[in-house]
Symmetry: C2
Subunit: 250 residues, 2 copies
Amino acid sequence: MLENWFPPGPRPTAAARSSIFIANRLENGDRHLWETALSRGERSWRKGEELAVEGEPPGALHVILEGWVQKYRQLPDGRRQLLGFCLPGQVCDIDLLRRRVHGHTATAIGNLRAAALTRDGLEELLDRCRGLGAALIDADTISAAIQREWLVNVGIRSGRERLAHLLCELYVLQGGDVDRGEVDFPVTQGQLGEALGMTSVHVNRILREFQAEYGAAVQQRRLAISDFGALARRAVFDPAYLGIDSEKPN
Amino acid sequence: MLENWFPPGPRPTAAARSSIFIANRLENGDRHLWETALSRGERSWRKGEELAVEGEPPGALHVILEGWVQKYRQLPDGRRQLLGFCLPGQVCDIDLLRRRVHGHTATAIGNLRAAALTRDGLEELLDRCRGLGAALIDADTISAAIQREWLVNVGIRSGRERLAHLLCELYVLQGGDVDRGEVDFPVTQGQLGEALGMTSVHVNRILREFQAEYGAAVQQRRLAISDFGALARRAVFDPAYLGIDSEKPN
DNA sequence: CGGCTGGTTGAGCGTGGTCAAGTCCAGTGG
DNA sequence: CCACTGGACTTGACCACGCTCAACCAGCCG
């Protein structure tokens, strides 16, 4: 019934081996428990609907199954800063475990499927699934590292470097190929601007340049990069912070 | 012997009740255990010396006793982004508990006294000190919230708002009075620039304006603000994220 | 005393913002 | 099936916030 939300076309590439994706850190037994628990809590959201609202108490831990989530904070005057994305396989509101209220708002970028785990459900699962606790902590640590990298990004990088860096990050997280790869990319130029602290107009201009210079282009909600190495060099991009468990691309 | 590093003069103001300061969250018994443990691990650093180095494995958890620490990440070409400050009473390298290597470098802003807790020492202390685990988690959560606020800061606020916001944050954290208060402030204009993603020249000009407009001035490593309310409004500053456990200043 | 770090100020300039118009496309309803 | 609508993208002209470069000063420490 939900399937028709998602038009036919290329499926997501095989997720990279970053430990930010919980399942990558679970052994077969644990992984099975994890996945059946997820299938039980499945829900869906339409584009723009909220999974969490800043200032409200956390209700459930969400695990993204299909679609992306954006997290942001908004000032009274409407200015908005994106704080991160959640991709399929990531947990979204780890806040559940330690904050009284959410520190950000999370909304669905497009139509979305995710599993909602209540606090009780999660605690029971943690008992049965020995490796899950460590996996959640690892994922949270990597999320924090990414957020720190975003701070570095908007703090000291130029507009071009910033955009290049974010493209590299999202490309590598999804296991994009060094050589002419392509990954999902459902993010608008306006959202890119809100993530990078610049206007969508400027994002557009830079994107146009990157298309010519590195063969990096967003089309049909997919990101293709032909010269990843050059783009990564432009961005001063070092993927170490992503916690990827494999031979690095060079 | 270390005392003469710290010239006579105003002592730090009573720390605010933010849970980022560990002792604020401990009951009397626990607090006593905590403080005696700290006194045992005491060490000192001279201005500029490193407590932690990016990429190296964490050695000890540091609890600041006197002086400030700056945490930063640096790009190969030398550009540097400050990620946060550690004030007396804060823990510094919680990374110890969950990362294989440090994600940032931490150096002493001035001469510094801090307690170093080894991993083993910490684990033993956690056993004996029932409330400590929760206190550490709370402090870590607030640190994360502050870092998120810094991202919002450099992302969407103007230069003036950014600087005003940081001044407010450090003022409130130290329990600064709404009405003509004064707190420690050992940070140079260059460091402010590195924290805010702007040049020291520009920090200087804005600081000059604030002095005239809000009576906010840094002198002798102290920050004085006469019209805190106006400055906070300029900054769109909402102290909720600091986890302060008291009636708010209005 | 001299050197160094940090603060102050000026002149000129460039990255990126603002405002505005117009195009393209997917989704919706007649 | 097609017209309409709204969201996202594109492009241009203009402008300003904040950077760069540079010189100078004040205070501190060796």
